[in-house]
């Protein structure tokens, strides 16, 4: 075989081989005509939240949003701070905004509790350390969990500066009062956290905590200058948690007016 025909043969087999593998690769083994997003799904570039602290005055305000989230997502109710699972909860000023320390905090701020949850950071430390890519950043900014890949190493829990992640030390099912059959539970040995209600966004619905907050929480696209969140941020003084760590939280806190409970 001379050089010219050898090269021709190589080109033909190369192109043919690529075509064959492309054909095999398409949609794996499924026969789907198409796989697509729901036409109802909410599209965003950088989902975020603004929490108006002034709307969270009493225990009931916190319980309402935590219940809405936890009962829908099958989050177990475990009465032990070392082993509990939480997606959205409350904490005081000194723990929420540790770096904003003041020697003479007003009594009102000392008493104030703040709703806290996963910050869906712009450059999330948890994603960087996950060895299996079980936690990853979606194109819309959500730091998502793929529970199927979680091996329970808990590097993400060590990396997260907000304590937003909980580990299932045992089977959570006995601690779930009523299992919501539309959503999977988790199992012993996986880490879990707030998902920004991805499964609801993909169907065109907003997060449950926003829905239950009676205006205390606004959810929207931080990259869209016309969005509700940006409007609220444009009109209020806002702060984020632990910005000095450089993870870039997507949850903003404002201290609103009113002072009325929602």
């Amino acid at each position: 075989m001379d050089r010219r025909s050898f090269l021709k043969l190589l080109a033909v087999t190369g192109v043919g081989g690529v075509a064959v593998f492309e054909g095999i690769n398409q949609f794996g083994a499924t026969e789907a005509a198409e796989i697509k997003k729901s036409t109802k799904s909410l599209q965003g570039k950088h989902w975020g939240m603004v929490i108006d602290v002034s709307k969270f005055q009493n225990a009931e305000d916190f319980k309402r949003i935590a219940n809405a989230c936890h009962s829908y997502h099958n989050v177990p109710d475990i009465d032990d701070p070392k082993q509990e699972i939480k997606w959205i909860w409350q904490d005081d000023f000194e723990h929420t905004f540790a770096e904003l320390e003041s020697n003479y905090l007003s009594e009102k701020i000392k008493q104030q509790q703040f709703p806290v949850l996963c910050n869906h950071c712009e450059s999330p430390a948890c994603v960087r350390v996950c060895p299996t890519k079980a936690t990853f950043k979606r194109d819309d900014g959500i730091v998502a969990m793929d529970y199927h890949r979680c091996i329970g190493c808990r590097f993400c829990m060590a990396a997260c500066p907000f304590g937003a992640r909980s580990f299932n030390f045992f089977d959570p099912r006995p601690y779930i009062k009523e299992i919501n059959p539309e959503i999977p539970t988790r199992t012993k040995g996986v880490v879990e956290k707030c998902t920004f209600c991805v499964e609801r966004l993909d169907k065109g619905l907003g997060p449950l905590c926003e829905e239950a907050s009676r205006g205390g929480i606004v959810f929207g696209d931080l990259d869209d200058p016309n969005s509700e969140v940006r409007k609220v941020l444009g009109e209020n003084f806002s702060i984020r948690r632990k910005v000095e760590l450089g993870t870039g939280p997507s949850i903003y806190y404002i201290f609103g007016g009113g002072g009325q409970s929602a």
Partner: protein, 132 residues
């Protein structure tokens, strides 16, 4: 030949024991599982069709579920358009088990027969909300 009778009797007993599993099962071929389609959702369908053809589902449902899982969880795509143009939500509990609500008589009947034990039910719930 010393003790010829005993040896022959022993041999016969030995042969009987060694072939007993075969002899006892003559004519009783292990029955193939009969996954039941008798559920309210399927009984209501005018044309009883799965997401894809029954042949494809029989051999390909595990792969399909893997694809669905990755598409939904990692890409946020939730809609599967089948070969025939029908749209389905890609969900184990909200699609497969909405039609096949008799997990025990359907999924499990095959899986027990084939000795596969998918670990999906550690987290995914069947329609009764009780897991497995």
């Amino acid at each position: 030949m010393y003790n010829g009778g005993k040896i022959i009797a022993g041999l016969i007993i030995f042969a009987a024991i060694i072939t007993s599993p075969f002899l006892l099962n003559i004519g009783k071929a292990d029955e193939a599982p009969q996954p039941s389609l008798d559920t309210p959702a399927i009984n209501q369908m005018s044309e009883k069709k799965c997401v894809e053809s029954a042949e494809f589902m029989r051999t390909g449902h595990m792969q399909m579920l893997n694809d669905w899982r990755d598409q939904v969880v990692r890409n946020g795509d939730t809609v599967y358009v089948s070969n025939s143009g029908q749209e389905y939500e890609m969900s184990l509990e909200n699609s497969c088990l909405k039609c096949h609500s008799n997990k025990q008589e359907f999924c499990d009947s095959c899986h027990t027969y084939a000795q596969v034990d998918p670990y999906c039910w550690d987290c995914h719930t069947d329609t009764k909300g009780a897991g497995q």
